[in-house]
């Protein structure tokens, strides 16, 4: 599995990221977990993942800034899926403005997430 596709997951809820990590690793992806936006940016810069999953509300650096950093500072076109709580339409719009590829609202269905990830990483 040396050349499995890398995914960076930025999520401050430890159980959720553990759950998603297990689920996606089962599908054959390699998961890198960040507990905040700052770590996420470091992981992205170091590992150049094929996909980024990020929560919007996170301590230190928000998901919006992660997107902004990837698109504007690193100039990468890596697909980004953002997680947002229900009712944050405004923030989701902003995320798309900044260059997010897709979004899922929380509470999220891990099953649906796998489908979306697969679609983006064919």
């Amino acid at each position: 599995m040396g050349n499995s596709k890398k995914i960076v997951l930025a999520e401050d809820n430890s159980v959720l990221s553990l759950l998603l990590k297990f689920r996606l690793e089962k599908e054959g992806y390699e998961l890198l977990i960040a507990i905040d936006g700052k770590q996420a940016i470091e992981l992205i810069e170091e590992h150049k993942p094929e996909l980024i999953l990020t929560d919007i509300m996170m301590p230190f650096v928000s998901g919006l800034e992660v997107i902004s950093h990837v698109r504007n500072k690193l100039n990468l076109q890596t697909p980004i899926i953002v997680f947002s709580s229900a009712g944050q339409e405004e923030i989701v719009l902003k995320a798309f403005d900044l260059g997010a590829t897709d979004f899922m609202s929380k509470p999220l269905s891990p099953h649906e997430l796998v489908i979306r990830v697969k679609r983006l990483l064919i």
């Binding site: 301590p59 230190f60 650096v61 902004s68 229900a86 009712g87 944050q88 900044l98």
Partner: protein
């Protein structure tokens, strides 16, 4: 004068000091008890509140954070980042650059991709003119930010400019160098939204001391205990004031001051009363008293709320020079405010405000240092005249000392039972140590600056602009 008259006068003086001390000690104790009851109730009520729902709702009311800045170039970019990272959804940030002489503005322009925009200001409160104008960011990640560049007019004037510019229902007035936790806004807005039987006109938060704490990118990473006695003593002082004092005042609905470092206001009322007073160094206390007075005059039911959670962290003076000048300013602010509103004092028309809050502030905040110094001078005279009764002296000095230590220890225990912010080992011992030392190491300076404040107020009446007005009275 014969001996008996002297004796009677002396007796009167003695009784005066005794009665004053007894009342002071009892009111501190009563306040502490009320605080404890109120804190338990608050903790119960908030142990299961889900703040998440309020966060994301488009129906949550709009808030503007107004932060005046004067020559803050060093940290301004980081500070603004911290203000922009609140988890609340419906808010914006207005930075009022109050005629800074440094490169604050150009730093902000560069860091946040600002461009000048045209804006009709609704000048409901008279302020100094704009200098370069109003700026917004071109980067959607920062679209909450507005930067206003105006002529220097002091902190109150800058806040008034912010009040004019804000289009939101509530305004959070804060010091730009304050570190606001991400959930600060939703916790502060809660009393405004959940109170149905009275209008909440303002809410005050707790100020915690950030000295020696590790702050990175505008976030509080690690809480440490500072090294010097001065800083440690202030931590203790803040714990006492916020945990054992303010909570009780909010219960009695008699809170007279909200820290200038962090308070949330109903903008409409703040503007109706004319905004901040630019002629006092205690504008943060003065506006609350004026807003309360307005509500009392209008005979409307109102409340000034208080949130005990540690939401706002700020640097306290770390040297005696700054410390003295800060306390000097607080003293003058208190004198000015009480004087300006002396009509409400002891006036039954103003209910609790006039009959309890005002007198308390007058005697135990305003007069206490003067009475204390008078006592020391009187004691000096007695010593010279060899009239001192040492048995009395010892008994009472030790009693007073032990009471002050006890009071501090109770504050520390409350902190541990509620927020337990100083988790690291050995801090407990240091806290207890400083409780014993504080009366010797900090108290004399506090007394000195209070007296100096009185002298400055009566003999050198002048308003200081610029550097000195940068910080409000983050009154503990």
């Amino acid at each position: 004068m014969n001996t008996s008259t002297v004796e009677i006068i002396m007796l009167i003086i003695h009784y005066f000091f005794l009665v004053f001390s007894v009342i002071a000690i009892s009111s501190y104790s009563i306040l502490a008890v009320i605080s404890a009851i109120e804190t338990i109730e608050y903790m119960k009520k908030n142990s299961f509140v889900n703040y998440k729902e309020i966060l994301s709702s488009t129906f949550s009311p709009s808030i503007s954070i107004i932060a005046p800045a004067y020559n803050e170039s060093l940290n301004i970019v980081e500070n603004v980042r911290s203000l922009l990272s609140s988890h609340y959804v419906n808010y914006d940030v207005i930075i009022v650059n109050d005629g800074s002489k440094d490169d604050s503005l150009s730093k902000l322009i560069e860091a946040y991709d600002l461009i000048q925009i045209s804006y009709h200001i609704n000048e409901q409160i008279k302020t100094k003119q704009l200098r370069k104008g109003i700026y917004k960011s071109t980067n959607p990640a920062f679209d909450k930010l507005t930067v206003v560049d105006k002529e220097n007019g002091g902190k109150a004037d800058a806040l008034n400019m912010g009040l004019n510019i804000s289009k939101n229902k509530y305004v959070a007035c804060i010091d730009v160098d304050c570190l606001l936790l991400e959930d600060a806004l939703q916790k502060m807005i809660k009393p405004f939204l959940e109170t149905t039987d009275a209008r909440v006109i303002a809410a005050g938060g707790v100020i915690r001391i950030a000295n020696s704490c590790i702050v990175k990118d505008g976030k509080l990473l690690d809480i440490n205990f500072p090294k010097t006695w001065l800083e440690q003593g202030q931590i203790l002082e803040y714990l006492r004031a916020f945990l054992l004092g303010r909570m009780a005042w909010s219960r009695l609905n008699g809170l007279l001051v909200i820290s200038g470092a962090f308070g949330l206001f109903d903008k409409k009322i703040a503007i109706t009363v004319g905004g901040y007073d630019t002629n006092t160094v205690g504008e943060d206390m003065e506006i609350i008293v004026r807003m309360r007075r307005h509500m009392e005059d209008e005979k409307q039911k109102y409340k000034v709320a208080y949130i005990p959670d540690p939401l706002c962290w700020t640097e306290a003076p770390d040297n005696y020079k700054t410390f003295i000048s800060q306390r000097n300013r607080w003293t003058r602010g208190t004198i000015e405010t009480l004087k300006k509103h002396n009509k409400i004092g002891f006036n039954p028309k103003y209910n609790c405000l006039g009959l309890i809050s005002y007198p308390y502030w007058f005697f135990f905040e305003r007069m206490a240092p003067i009475i204390e110094v008078a006592g020391i001078i009187y004691f000096g005279i007695l010593t010279v005249l060899n009239e001192v009764r040492w048995d009395y002296t010892f008994a009472f000095v030790i009693l007073a000392y032990l009471f002050s230590v006890l009071f501090s220890i109770v504050a520390i225990v409350s902190e541990e039972l509620t927020y337990h912010q100083y988790k690291k080992k050995s801090i407990g011992f240091k806290l207890v140590m400083i409780a014993f030392l504080e009366p010797f190491v900090n108290h004399p300076y506090i007394l000195y600056s209070a007296i100096k404040g009185n002298i400055d107020y009566y003999f050198y009446k002048k308003i200081e602009w610029g550097d000195m007005t940068r910080k409000g009275m983050t009154k503990a």
